[in-house]
Amino acid sequence: MAVMSAAGFMGDNALFLIDYLLRFLRVILFFALWRLILHGKGAINGYTLSTTLTYTLISEVFREVMECRTWLESGFWDGSVSMRYLRPMSVFAQYAAEWSGGVAFRLLTFSIPLLLLSSLMGVNPLPASPQAGILFLASLLLAVFVGLGIEYLFSGLAIAFRTHPWIFNRMRAAIGEILSGALLPFAFMPLGLGKIFSYLPFAGQASTPLSIYVGQADSPRLMALQLFWGVVLWLIAGRLWEKNKEKVVAYGG
C-alpha cells in the first residue's frame, strides 16, 4: 500500500513539482521573517537567530512526518471507506500505510534536496550535537505515534458525533500548527503560552523533536510525555472507534 501510494504521487506528469516550488518559497520567507525579527537580538530563551533558522528548516523538512495527515476524511466523503472495511486489515492501518508511502516519496523528492540546499541559504542543517541527532530520530518516531493517534482520535470523534470528519480534521490541522510549535517555537510565545502548550499532546508532534534537534530541550522528560500522550490517545481512539463502528456514515461511493 505504501509503495502504491508513493508511485501514485507521480500522477499523469511532473506538475506536482509546482507544489514543492511553493513550499520552498514559503521556507525562504520564514527565514527572511526570522532574520527581520531577530536581527541584532541575542539569544531569547536559549534561541539565537541561527538556532531558530535551523528549527524552521527541520520543521519544513519533516513537516509531513510530523503532521501525520492520512486524509481519512476523504474516504468518508467519497464513500471509498466502505470498500476498505472489506479488506482483512484495520481501516486506519490502511490509511496509515498509504500515508507512509506518500511521506517517503516527499522525503526523497523535497526534504532531502531542501536539506542539501540549506547551507546555500545560510542555514545550518546540522543538529546541536550527534547525541541530539540520535535523540531527535527517536523523538520523531514518537511524534508519528502521537500524530497518528491524534488523527485516529479526531476521526473517531467525528464518527461519534455524526458530523463531517472534514470539519474536525480541518480544525485539528489549523489548531495543531500553532499548538504543535511547528510554526513558532514555544520559546517565543508571550504570556507563558509556550509553557502551557508544551504539556499538550500536540507538542509531541513537532515542538519536542525540533527543540531536541536544536539542543533546547529536556529530552528525557519531553520524550516520556510524548510516550504518555501516544499511549493515551491510541487507547481512547481505539475505544471510540470500537464503540461507534455502527455509526460510520459514508457519503457517495
Partner: protein
C-alpha cells in the same frame, strides 16, 4: 438567437445572488448542530490563521518597522480579504483547479449564461461564509483606534478600492495557476489548495527587508505582497506618496489580464480534449 443586453445580465446576476444566498441560508439552517459546528470551526480556523503572527507581534512589540497595532491592521486586512473570498467565491470557485480537475466545469459550460456570470455568482455563500469575515473585522476594529492614519480625503474609499484589488489579486493568482488543471486534471486537481494555502499563510508577513529581487517576485510571480502588505503600507502611510494607494489596483489589473489569458487558453485546449474524469462532490449542483 436573441442577444441579451448588459443590464439584463446585471439583473440576472443580482437574481442569482439572491437565489444562492437563500439556498445557502436554508442549507445551513437545516440543522442547528451543523450551524453551530460550521460557525465554531470557521471561527477557530480564522483565528488560528493569524495567531502565529499575532503572538510574534505581542512578544516583540511589533515586527521590523511595523508597530504592534500596524501588524494587527495588516492581519485584519488580510483576514478580511480571506473572508470576502470565502463569502463570494466559495464552492470551489476560488479553488478552480478542483472544478476543472474533477470534470465539473461542464456544469458551468452548459448553463445558458456567460461563464463569468456563473463564476461570479455560484460561489456566493453568505451564511456559511459569514464567520470568516469576523476575525478580520474584529482585528481592524482593535487596531484602527490606535493608529495615526494619513490625513487624506476619502481614506475609506481608498481602503475599499484596495480591498477589492487585493481580492482580485488572489483570484487572478488562483485562476492563473488553477488553469493548469485543464491540461493535467489529475496531477493538478489540488494545485489551487497549494496556491491558496501559500497566499493565505504568507499574506500576513511584512515583506520589508527581503531585498529587491525577492520582494519583486512576491509582488509578481507569487503576488503574496498584493494580498495585504502592499495595500497596508499605503493605507498606513508607510508607502510614500499618493501613488502608493494605486499600486495594488494596478497590480490586480495586470494579474487579472494574465489570469484571463491563461484561463482562456486552457479553455480552448479543454474544448478540444474535454475531460475523462468526473467526481460530483465539492460544488454547487
Amino acid at each position: 438567437m436573441e442577444v441579451k443586453g448588459f443590464w439584463h445580465w446585471v439583473r440576472h446576476t443580482l437574481r442569482l445572488f439572491a437565489l444562492y444566498g437563500k439556498m445557502d441560508t436554508l442549507g445551513l439552517m437545516r440543522s442547528m448542530g451543523m450551524l453551530l459546528t460550521m460557525m465554531l470551526s470557521d471561527t477557530v480556523l480564522n483565528i488560528a490563521a493569524v495567531m502565529g503572527m499575532l503572538l510574534l507581534a505581542e512578544r516583540f512589540g511589533g515586527i521590523g518597522n511595523w508597530s504592534k497595532y500596524q501588524v494587527l491592521f495588516l492581519l485584519g486586512y488580510g483576514g478580511l480579504v480571506d473572508g470576502i473570498i470565502n463569502v463570494f467565491f466559495g464552492y470551489n470557485v476560488a479553488f478552480i483547479s478542483r472544478r476543472l480537475g474533477r470534470g465539473q466545469f461542464d456544469h458551468t459550460l452548459i448553463q445558458p449564461q456567460p461563464i463569468v456570470v456563473s463564476l461570479l455568482t455560484e460561489g456566493f455563500n453568505p451564511a456559511f461564509g459569514l464567520p470568516s469575515l469576523l476575525p478580520g473585522t474584529v482585528l481592524l476594529g482593535i487596531a484602527l483606534p490606535h493608529l495615526v492614519l494619513p490625513q487624506i480625503a476619502g481614506w475609506w474609499f481608498l481602503f475599499a478600492i484596495n480591498m477589492v484589488a487585493s481580492v482580485a489579486v488572489v483570484l487572478a493568482f488562483q485562476f492563473a495557476f488553477g488553469s493548469l488543471a485543464f491540461r493535467a486534471p489529475r496531477a493538478t486537481e489540488e494545485i489551487s489548495s497549494s496556491t491558496m494555502h501559500l497566499l493565505m499563510q504568507l499574506k500576513s508577513f511584512p515583506l520589508d527587508g527581503l531585498g529587491a529581487v525577492l520582494t519583486g517576485s512576491l509582488l509578481t510571480a507569487v503576488p503574496v505582497g498584493g494580498v495585504a502588505w502592499l495595500p497596508c503600507r499605503a493605507l498606513l502611510g508607510m508607502g510614500g506618496g499618493v501613488t502608493s494607494y494605486w499600486l495594488t489596483p494596478l497590480l490586480s489589473m495586470v494579474l487579472a489580464l494574465v489570469a484571463v489569458v491563461t484561463f482562456w487558453k486552457g479553455l480552448q485546449y479543454y474544448g478540444r480534449v474535454g475531460s475523462q474524469r468526473y467526481s460530483n462532490f465539492g460544488h454547487r449542483n
